[in-house]
Symmetry: C2
Subunit: 372 residues, 2 copies
Amino acid sequence: MFKFSLIKKDTESSARRGELTTSHGAVQTPVFMPVGTQATVKTLSPEDLKSMGAEIILSNTYHLFLRPGHELIRDFGQLHGFMAWDRAVLTDSGGFQVFSLAELRKISEEGVTFQSPVDGGAKHLLTPEYAMEIQEALGADIIMAFDECIPFPATHDYARESVERTQRWARRCKDAKKDTGQALFGIVQGGMYPELRKQSAEGLLDIGFDGYALGGLSVGETKPVMYEMIEASAPLLPSDKPRYLMGVGTPEDLVEGVDRGIDMFDCVMPTRNARNGTFFTSFGRVVIRNAQYERDKQPIDPACGCYTCRTFTRAYIRHLFNANELLALRLGTIHNVYFYLNLMQNVRTSIEQGRFKEFKKEFLEKRETIAN
Amino acid sequence: MFKFSLIKKDTESSARRGELTTSHGAVQTPVFMPVGTQATVKTLSPEDLKSMGAEIILSNTYHLFLRPGHELIRDFGQLHGFMAWDRAVLTDSGGFQVFSLAELRKISEEGVTFQSPVDGGAKHLLTPEYAMEIQEALGADIIMAFDECIPFPATHDYARESVERTQRWARRCKDAKKDTGQALFGIVQGGMYPELRKQSAEGLLDIGFDGYALGGLSVGETKPVMYEMIEASAPLLPSDKPRYLMGVGTPEDLVEGVDRGIDMFDCVMPTRNARNGTFFTSFGRVVIRNAQYERDKQPIDPACGCYTCRTFTRAYIRHLFNANELLALRLGTIHNVYFYLNLMQNVRTSIEQGRFKEFKKEFLEKRETIAN
């Protein structure tokens, strides 16, 4: 079961307020999806995620295929059963990770051959058909077409060839997909060439998907270029289907993405930064190891309502990081993920109330203030 | 405020059912105290501990003195305020850790000079008086006298000298302690010499403490020797004061200790083992990385009621350990600490119901069965 309903369109921007309906509950959009690469959002339990209001998480096909294997996960009630998460899940196709392997992979029309870094260098062939089979076994509510995510920078010739191959692979994904009730999203590629982005989007529309993602962004290009690429394809996508900006980004990126009509985001930034002791707050970033926080009795963000901010001081969190205490990583992750989820809640409310542009302006201004 | 009330004495053993009254709530004994060395029980939040029924935790004076410093902690509402734990706390005296430094420390009548491994090798002098001052700043409900914990094996001459010095230090602790409302426990030493254990206990009784601990055990001696040492001193201690067996031990050790009249225990075994993937269960130990658990759909211990066992399979926990996922460490710790706390709950119930000896027999028999 999958449905996308538009609740409200902003009149001053391309921002949209919507709702995804899945077999594992509703998801309010625009939404940020915490990343649970190996069937766990690092340091967090399902209860932690629920208490923060997460309605959907992302997990990575490539990692789960290698360990513990998709057959095992299917046998344990798919991803939902295996990790005890009864809300919605999206899996990527494995493409992004496979292409990141550089010398360890080889692309052909059939698919990508790669050497596993986990099981003693065994060779695997990932094809569009196999990506569907694996994702069907994992059982996510939303699955992604197998695409090529090209490096940055890339020549126009290579980007065009790749867009065309990704288009043929998208067709094979659609043809191979069984009637599982899972939603299948296509992925717009095209490097940093607006006309290729347009070509890619139009090609995917010909095939027809349950949703459309923008891939290959936030890979080294400047922010204006990223926004230009979004603007080159998002307006072509049907307004009654969800749009997903993959692997992006900072809090500012999310707000800019919503402004340009994006409904879904995922990124490791909040979780990875938390484990380094860098926290997102309403007034900018806090690097908790800094000496200035040694005797600071305030919470990480006085404006935040997360468990960590309701319970602990900056000085205590700093102590945990300095003492290499594992609790630091979870408390920091709780804060950062809450910050992202709460930001999207505020974005949704502002769209509902017809004041998204005003919200965006205030949000960006406030974050220019440096942490005291 | 500190009070110890005996609720029931077992007629077939020295087991006792009691209650400690502290300014931070009541503590039912016999009790196991999870170890929170650096003002955190590794991986667990205060809420985790409360939801498992922990009524008291232990924290380490030595570590907190070095980082973040007892003055800072006092300024943050003492340990309770600093770590957001509003139930009871016991701190050790720092003696055990300082004596473990081997070449880095020097003993004199005044105290122990040691080099800090944290702040660039600065020299510190820990004396009985300073141990009281630090523990008063930390603000635990129960604090410990500064003692010498001798190595194993030790000669009779050295053990006797040390017992006599520890006796003089105990007097200085009692004299130095301010009227803070904290309970002060003396520590029986004496190596593996029953007559020195007796001498140590009698010396401490002359001074008079709020409770009595047995130190320097589980340091390499055999189990029968450890039990002999407990039996050499515990019966001499006043029945209306709590008895605390420091740094012990396995689940079996706890039950054997209760049998010999011990009321309080602490040990890093449940927390440390959890982080290695070794779990205590009602039928013995489970080493979760073993291949036999790869597709095992049972919880770690089907008889366990902890969050981990109510929610996740052995296969999932094993996956988290194999994938080096941080969630593994917390889920494992939740299980092991719950197992220890639940064991003590069962011990207390069995004493109340006059069937402790029967409980002990069944408990030890069941654990001889190997995990399936």
